[in-house]
Symmetry: D2
Subunit: 135 residues, 4 copies
Amino acid sequence: MADFSVSLQVRDHECDMQGVVNHAVYLNYLEHARHEFLKTRGLDFAKLTAGGIIVVVARAEIDYRRSLRSGDHFRVTARPQRASAVRLVFEQEILLERGGDCMVTAKMTTTAVNERGRPYFPRELEALFLSASKS
Amino acid sequence: MADFSVSLQVRDHECDMQGVVNHAVYLNYLEHARHEFLKTRGLDFAKLTAGGIIVVVARAEIDYRRSLRSGDHFRVTARPQRASAVRLVFEQEILLERGGDCMVTAKMTTTAVNERGRPYFPRELEALFLSASKS
Amino acid sequence: MADFSVSLQVRDHECDMQGVVNHAVYLNYLEHARHEFLKTRGLDFAKLTAGGIIVVVARAEIDYRRSLRSGDHFRVTARPQRASAVRLVFEQEILLERGGDCMVTAKMTTTAVNERGRPYFPRELEALFLSASKS
Amino acid sequence: MADFSVSLQVRDHECDMQGVVNHAVYLNYLEHARHEFLKTRGLDFAKLTAGGIIVVVARAEIDYRRSLRSGDHFRVTARPQRASAVRLVFEQEILLERGGDCMVTAKMTTTAVNERGRPYFPRELEALFLSASKS
């Protein structure tokens, strides 16, 4: 099954003095793809947050292979995997639209935290975990 | 004639603790629309920069009318006007895609500067100025 | 009386492909100075927001005079003025630490909005307005 | 020997709709600490870049332990280690100023790339590598 993906384009302010997209900006791209993926499962990050469900990134592993440049069109994929009782891992890639070169691969580990910052399972995310384990 | 516009979507990281897009982020949106407009006139901001043509914002006037929120789809317009011998003003709007509500209006004054920071007319921009004055 | 100011340093990721601080980033600097100023009057932006007091920028006027570069140390001033029954204007400057060159001047108009987005006077800000009118 | 560190403060625009610093922003903090560290070895990132020495992040591993909030003062450390012939790894931490709680740990792998994107050893960085191996 093809992974979920969103299509984006580099904005010039995202490039730093090296003339390429700054390495921190890719985390913005990756987050946007994850949040758009959530919507396909009926989950909205803003509504979850407003409802007190705080989903956070617990660990990020990112390999930078090639740099995106001004004007580049690219796709960001998101494939969720249940990693543990409280952790959902997203395997993600950033691919150049033209040619499909892989620019970045990432493994983003997310969890929900309660008011004291402890990981837990919000019932609201069960649908996601179930769906994710089937995909 | 319909204004040039680009269609974008809010990314959640662009929202601040108030849950709406931070006021500084709109300048990123506005810049992206201007740079995409330049491309329609055969001008590429990154190539201009690499070629030593430094186009900068000299003055920004921005009226914030309504706030964009998570997930909002919107359009950013850009209509250039020759303001003086060395200044090109972009009248811009940010409009909610659904319903067309005007969220932001902006008047962005741009100019090119030479190596000592003085405004001047790069020959490369003449095509833009000519086209702009006709539109 | 000397204006309130905060001292900051350019971070390299704030520079764009022109090798200077991107014009949108100055709004981040200006906001930080305003919020630090609020603290000197006993007001905390995050606590106001958490308490339902939504203070927003209604209009920004920014003149870009010189560009900040990698490593530059600079000060951001904030001088509030009561502009109307519902509007507080901050006159602000960004000054190079060494030499004091003025890089940016800004006039930032702020207001509080209620749940329907209408400007109003939160009682919590009265102390600020009173103080501001005296300064 | 105490690690090199820089002291910073959260700016409110760096907080997202959860009211805490967005996870991508920590990479900006970490980068700033690395670039300030370079200066202690006589190396300036902007000058390196202008001179054609392109130092990039090849891999990032970041563990998010606690979230920084509005107003927090914190320190960012940077301890370099020679990881291979072409790779320099920075072990970094973000520590709350008050109390010293560890908020983030990171292992940032950097390298220099030539015009075709291949890792290599710029002579200009030798001093850094030598110094780093001694520390």
